[in-house]
Subunit: 351 residues, 2 copies
C-alpha cells in the first residue's frame, strides 16, 4: 500500500503505451519531479510493465503495479467504454481516486472514454452541468488557461458561465493570482459581436455578482499575447484553437531550423547560439502545455495527449502533482457555492 501523495496511472492509455508512460515517469522523477514526494499506483499489464521497470530504477522504487489485462482502445466509443470498461486500466486508475487510494489519476488514453468514466465514478460537483477540460497555454509571461478544449462541442450560455467559474478557481489555485482576468473568446471585442449563445453568456457574466474579474470578449491572438488569464469557449472552438496553435508552433520551429542551417555562416552562428536557442525551443515546445485537467468533478483527473512522448508525459505528471498539491478542490467549492447562491440553487439534501 502506497502512502503519501499517490498518482494513479493508466499505464495502457496512449499511442505508445506502456513504454512512454513508464519512461515518462522516470523522466519526471529525474527532472521536474526530482525531490518531490509523489508515488505511483500503476494500472496495467504486469507482463508488459515489469520489463520496463528493470530499466527505470527511480520509477521501480516509487511504484506499485495493480495488474489488469483489460484495456480501453484508443478509438473506443465512450458508450462502449462505459458498458465494458469496468476493470480496465483506465477504469481502475480513476477508481483509485474515488476510493482514496490516490489523490489524482492520469491517462493518455481515449478522451471521451476517460471523461465518461470520470463522470460515472467520481460524479460531478453539485450543480455542475458538464465538466470541462482546461488546457494551459504558454504566453510571454507564463501561462493562460483555456477551457473547454474538447469535452463539450456545443455549449449554452449557462455552461460557458460555469466554465468561467471553474477556470477561475483552477487559475487561482495553481498560479496564485487573487483575481485572474476572465475573457470570453469571440470574433471581435465589440459588445455586439458573436452569436446568440456568446451574447447571452456575455450578458450573464457582465451582470453577475459573482465577483469575477470578467473583462469581456477576447480574440484569438489575446491568448498567446497573455492579455487575459482565463479564456472561456466551447469545446469545439477551444480544441481547434489549441491544435491550430500547436501546428503554427511546429511550423515555425521548422522555419527557424531551416533558417539556421541555411549556409555555413548560419550554421556557425547557430552553434554559438545553442543555449539561447535551446531555451527558446523549450518554451515553444507544444509538449510544455501537455496535461489537460478535468474540471467540475469530485476528484482530480488529468488527460495527457495520446501521441505525446515521455517528455510530454512528464509535463502532464507535473500538472497532476501540482493539482494534487494545490488548493484547487477547496477553491472550486467556494466558487460553486457563490454560483449556487446567485442562481438560488437548492442542492440535494443528504439524509
Amino acid at each position: 500500500m502506497l502512502t503519501g501523495l499517490v498518482i494513479s496511472v493508466d499505464a495502457m492509455g496512449g499511442d505508445a503505451a506502456p513504454d512512454i508512460v513508464i519512461n515518462g515517469i522516470e523522466y519526471f522523477l529525474k527532472h521536474e519531479g526530482k525531490g518531490r514526494h509523489a508515488r505511483f499506483l500503476i494500472h496495467g499489464d504486469e507482463a508488459q510493465i515489469t520489463p520496463l521497470l528493470a530499466k527505470t530504477p527511480q520509477t521501480r522504487e516509487r511504484c506499485e503495479i495493480a495488474h489488469t489485462e483489460s484495456v480501453i482502445a484508443m478509438d473506443a466509443k465512450p458508450s462502449f467504454a462505459m458498458r465494458r470498461g469496468k476493470g480496465s486500466s483506465m477504469w481502475n486508475a480513476v477508481e483509485a481516486v474515488k476510493t482514496g487510494d490516490a489523490q489524482v489519476a492520469i491517462s493518455a488514453g481515449n478522451t471521451g472514454a476517460l471523461m465518461a468514466m470520470s463522470k460515472l465514478l467520481l460524479r460531478m460537483k453539485e450543480g455542475v452541468q458538464r465538466p470541462a477540460i482546461a488546457a494551459r497555454w504558454p504566453h510571454q509571461d507564463g501561462f493562460g488557461v483555456v477551457l473547454d478544449v474538447g469535452a463539450n462541442l456545443e455549449c449554452d450560455a449557462n455552461q460557458l458561465r460555469e466554465f468561467a467559474v471553474l477556470g477561475e478557481a483552477y487559475y487561482r489555485a495553481i498560479f496564485k493570482k487573487e483575481k485572474p482576468s476572465i475573457g470570453l473568446l469571440n470574433v471581435g471585442t465589440e459588445d455586439k459581436k458573436g452569436n446568440a449563445v456568446i451574447q447571452a453568456a456575455h450578458d450573464s457574466l457582465s451582470c453577475s455578482q459573482l465577483g469575477l474579474n470578467y473583462v469581456g470578449f477576447v480574440e484569438g491572438y489575446d491568448i498567446s499575447m497573455g492579455n487575459v488569464d482565463v479564456i472561456v469557449t466551447d469545446g469545439f472552438t477551444g480544441n481547434i484553437a489549441l491544435k491550430t496553435a500547436e501546428g503554427t508552433a511546429r511550423l515555425l520551429v521548422t522555419f527557424i531550423t531551416a533558417a539556421l542551417q541555411d549556409n555555413i555562416w548560419s550554421k556557425m552562428a547557430s552553434i554559438l547560439n545553442l543555449p539561447a536557442l535551446r531555451r527558446m525551443k523549450k518554451r515553444m515546445d507544444p509538449r510544455t502545455g501537455n496535461g489537460g485537467v478535468f474540471l467540475g468533478l469530485n476528484g482530480l483527473v488529468i488527460k495527457s495527449h495520446g501521441g505525446t512522448d515521455h517528455i510530454g508525459y512528464a509535463n502532464a505528471l507535473s500538472v497532476a502533482l501540482e493539482m494534487a498539491d494545490s488548493t484547487y478542490l477547496e477553491e472550486i467549492e467556494n466558487n460553486l457555492q457563490t454560483l449556487h447562491d446567485e442562481d438560488g440553487y437548492v442542492g440535494a439534501v443528504e439524509t
Copy 2:
C-alpha cells in the same frame, strides 16, 4: 479615365487611413507590384490624399482620385452602412467594379459593412446562399486557403459544402493545382467526430458527385502543416483559428528575438545570421497572409486587415492583382454549374 487593369481602392478604410493605403500602394509598386500593369482608382477625400501623393511619385503616376467626403466608420453597423453608405469611399470603391471601371475593389474598412455593400451592389452568384471570406494561410511549402474566416458565424451543412466549392475554384485559379485537396475542420479525424452540422456536411461531401478531392475531416494543426489545400469551416471557428495562429506567430517572434539578444555571443551570432533570420521572419510575418477574398459574388472584392501597415496593405494589393489576373471568375462559374446540376437547381430565367 484609367485603362487596363484597374484596382478600385477605398482610401479611407482602415485604422490609419488614408496614410497606410497610399503608402501601401507605393510600397507595392516598388516591390511585389514592380513592373506590373495595375492602375488605381482611389476613392476618398482629395484634401487628405493629395498631400500624400506628393511623397509617393509612383502612385501619383498610376492613379486617379475619385473624390468623396463620406466615410464609413470602422465601428459602423452593416445595416447603418447600407442605409447611409451610398456615396462613401467604400461604396464607391465597390460600385466601380459593378460599373466595370475597375476589375477588383479593396478596402481595409469595416468588414461587415464591406460585405453588406458588396452583396447589395454586386449580388451573389446564382445559387450561392452566402458569400464567404477566404484567407491564405502560409505553410511549409506554400499556402493553404481557409474559409470562411468571419462572414458567416453560423453555417448549415449546405453552406459548408458551398464553401468547399468556392474555395476549390479559388485555390485552382490562384495556385494552379488541378485537384486541390479539401478538408472539413473538426476536433478529430474519425468519421463520428463533431456536431450534427459537421456530420451532415461530411456526409454530403463524401457522397457528392461534384468531383471534389474531398479528404474528410482535418484538425487544427493540419492547416499549418500544409496537409490539405482548402480548409472549410464556419466563420466563427475560422476567425478564431486565424487570429490564434497570428497570436502564436507573434509570440514566437518575441521568443526568438529575446533568445538571439540573450548575451554577447547570441548577439554576435545573430548578426552573422541576419539574412537567414530575415527570410524566416518574413515567412512568419502575419502580414504575408493579409488580404481576405470575398467569394461567391459577381465581382472581386478584397478585404485588408484594418490594423495592418503599408507592407501588409501591399500584400493585400498583391492578392487583388493576382485575383484580377486569374481565371477565378470562370472557375467559380464552372464549379457552381456542377453544384447546381447535382442539386437539380433551377436558376432564375432572364426574360
